[in-house]
């Protein structure tokens, strides 16, 4: 099949529906948000249309820089953990029998059906002192007495990795299934151990996929606001938590919008940088 460039207006017609949906449900709300971020906040009231930079000014402080830094760091760590677990797991999954693959996929997809609230409460129970997993360790004699593992940073990270891992695997799976098995076979014939073949042949062949997965999980994790609240202490609250506070509890829409716009800009910047770095390395090889 030859791919032809669309010539007439009618050729573009199939694009109309997605284009309309995208503008109605993404472009317009996002534009409104940008507009609101410049509005004047009326303390003790609502907001009035204006063009002021107050909301951005308030955000530019050491305090919010810390919160933003933490949110980015958390999202990067979630992405790295997910990929570090997801790539070897998916690689082994693709080497399994068809039946086993289906069973694993169904199990993973069922995790996706859980809401963030359920995941948060389940982990807070699992990590609690009174009913948590440390009680099991006490029962088999590995620990002296049960301790609380939540709230804390490890708890937040664990739950967020748990939540993002199915997505990671679903994104990695097609690329790994299509990976030519003769590549590893060739490496093995030439004397590489399975581990060495994985690191020197499989991983480099998947570089683009891994980069794309890292970016996807990073963005996914950046929007999380329930898990840090349920499983973290206040210093583990992400910028998304503070945006929610402003929008819902303080009814300070302009400031919430300004923070959200800032978060989007920083995210786009980081993604661009990552892609740029990836391309540069590719060119260097």
């Amino acid at each position: 099949m030859r791919r032809e460039k669309p010539a007439t207006l009618a050729d573009y017609a199939p694009l109309a529906f997605p284009a309309i949906m995208l503008s109605v449900f993404f472009v317009i709300p996002f534009g409104t948000m940008i507009a609101v971020s410049f509005f004047q906040r009326q303390q003790g009231g609502f907001y009035t249309p204006a063009f002021v930079f107050d909301n951005y000014e308030r955000f530019l402080s050491l305090f919010f820089a810390h919160v933003l830094g933490f949110s980015l760091m958390l999202a990067v760590m979630v992405a790295v953990c997910c990929v570090a677990i997801g790539v070897p797991f998916t690689y082994m999954l693709t080497r399994m029998s068809r039946r086993a693959q289906i069973a694993w996929m169904v199990a993973l997809l069922s995790v996706l059906s859980l809401s963030e609230v359920i995941i948060g409460f389940a982990w807070s129970t699992l990590l609690s002192r009174t009913a948590g997993i440390t009680n099991l360790l006490v029962a088999i004699g590995l620990m002296e007495k049960a301790v609380a593992l939540s709230p804390g940073f490890p708890a937040v990270l664990t739950a967020m990795v748990y939540q993002a891992l199915p997505y990671t695997i679903l994104v990695l799976y097609p690329a790994l299934v299509r990976l030519d098995p003769t590549l590893t076979e060739a490496a093995r014939t030439l004397g590489a151990s399975p581990l060495k073949a994985f690191f020197t042949v499989v991983l480099p062949a998947l570089r683009t996929t891994i980069l794309a997965t890292l970016i996807m999980v990073f963005i996914f994790a950046l929007g999380s606001y329930l898990l840090p609240q349920i499983l973290g202490r206040p210093q583990h609250w992400t910028l998304s938590v503070l945006i929610t506070d402003q929008a819902i509890y303080q009814s300070n829409m302009p400031f919430a919008a300004a923070m959200a716009v800032f978060l989007v800009l920083v995210t786009l910047g980081m993604v661009t940088l990552t892609l740029f770095a990836g391309r540069k390395r590719e060119a260097a090889i």
Partner: protein, 362 residues
């Protein structure tokens, strides 16, 4: 803002509630075949269900006015909707149950129609704090429901009930407390002022507020959980995971009655009393019916029914009510309550919010 008695509610359901409320607005009103009717906004969930079951049918029978109850979203979304509708001359609800901060914000745009106190027979019997007035003395709202936030403990961990809010500061309680996460719903500045600074008037000046923040910072090492979601703390309190904190008196009482090892104590400085008002939108044309409704709701018998059936604290003086001491104790206390400084959350909200967030996050 209180997501009352509905422990499973999440922010998503609040948003869903907003959507539902908008849906209600868009639908033509379906009324029963009475000539007179009134649209009443009530917090969605537990409150609306209880009012629909225990209160509104009797009111219609007594007054001949049909009530169409509307589920309000919590938070300030309802205030925004009322405000925008009033600008267009429409009232999505005639009478609404509004939080105190929302009352003050509505006052700033004259949203509330003044209430003619001569038509409220029990006006003089209302506790003064349940009458919400404009600065010029017009009455903007009359107390609808009230509830207490008290000092709660797990009885297994604390065989003896604490008797003062000072227990929150006790170094012995390190990493044991669950407190509300927002300055505007925890009212801990008021608690600090009442416990250590001689009363909430100490918060009049910025200096006083800074002092309260400083004192409050000492509580931080004791706090295990700053919660927004009520279910999260209630669960942890019952299991003893987090054995002390601030929580709603009525819900804690219900949990204790169910056999959970929890208790609610009115500290000697008083429980925190929060409340909602009945307020009439200036766009409403049902001024007469609204007064009949508010008058009906302010009767001693109805206030007693509310305490028994809905679990709210009465807005009238205690001696007028036929509640038994046990019934009264399950919803209220004779100890003078700590009344939140709602005015501060209107005039200084951004400053307070910023200081507070920096205090607990930093």
């Amino acid at each position: 803002m209180r997501k009352t008695f509905n422990p499973s509610i999440s922010r998503r359901t609040v948003l869903g509630g907003t959507a539902a409320a908008i849906g209600v607005l868009a639908m033509p009103s379906i009324l029963r075949a009475q000539d007179r009717s009134l649209k009443v906004g009530v917090y969605g969930g537990y409150f609306k269900d209880s009012f629909d079951k225990n209160i509104f049918p009797d009111f219609t029978a007594a007054s001949g006015i049909a009530v169409e109850s509307i589920a309000e979203p919590t938070g300030e979304a309802w205030l925004v909707q009322l405000e925008q509708a009033a600008k267009a001359g429409v009232a999505p609800a005639d009478v609404s149950m509004m939080s105190q901060v929302a009352m003050l914000k509505g006052q700033s745009t004259d949203l509330w129609a003044p209430i003619d106190t001569a038509k409220i027979k029990n006006y003089d019997n209302l506790l003064e704090r349940f009458v919400n007035k404009y600065p010029d003395g017009r009455v903007a709202g009359i107390g609808a429901v009230a509830w207490y936030i008290t000092l709660v403990t797990n009885t297994d961990t604390y065989p003896e009930a604490p008797d003062s809010w000072a227990a929150l500061w006790d170094p012995a309680n390190a990493d044991k407390l669950g407190l509300l996460a927002l300055v505007s719903n925890s009212f801990l500045l008021e608690v600090t002022a009442k416990t250590y600074m001689g009363g909430t008037n100490a918060l009049d000046t910025e200096e006083g507020l800074n002092k309260a923040f400083e004192k409050l910072a000492e509580v931080k090492p004791n706090v295990r959980l700053w919660y927004r979601d009520e279910a999260q703390f209630e669960q942890a309190l019952k299991s003893g995971e987090i054995p002390m904190g601030q929580y709603y008196h009525d819900v804690t009482g219900l949990a204790a009655a169910d056999g959970h090892p929890v208790r609610s104590t009115f500290p000697k400085e008083g429980g925190i009393q929060d409340s909602g008002c009945w307020a009439l939108s200036r766009a409403s044309e049902k001024v007469e019916e609204a007064h009949v409704f508010i008058d009906y709701m302010s009767q001693p018998e109805i206030q007693s029914t509310l305490s028994r059936k809905v679990g709210t604290a009465p807005t009238l003086k205690r001696e007028l009510l036929d509640l038994t001491p046990e019934e009264f104790a399950s919803v209220s206390s004779d100890i003078e309550p700590i009344i939140p400084r709602y005015d501060l959350y209107q005039t200084k909200s951004d400053w307070l919010n910023q200081k507070w967030t920096e205090l607990i996050v930093g």
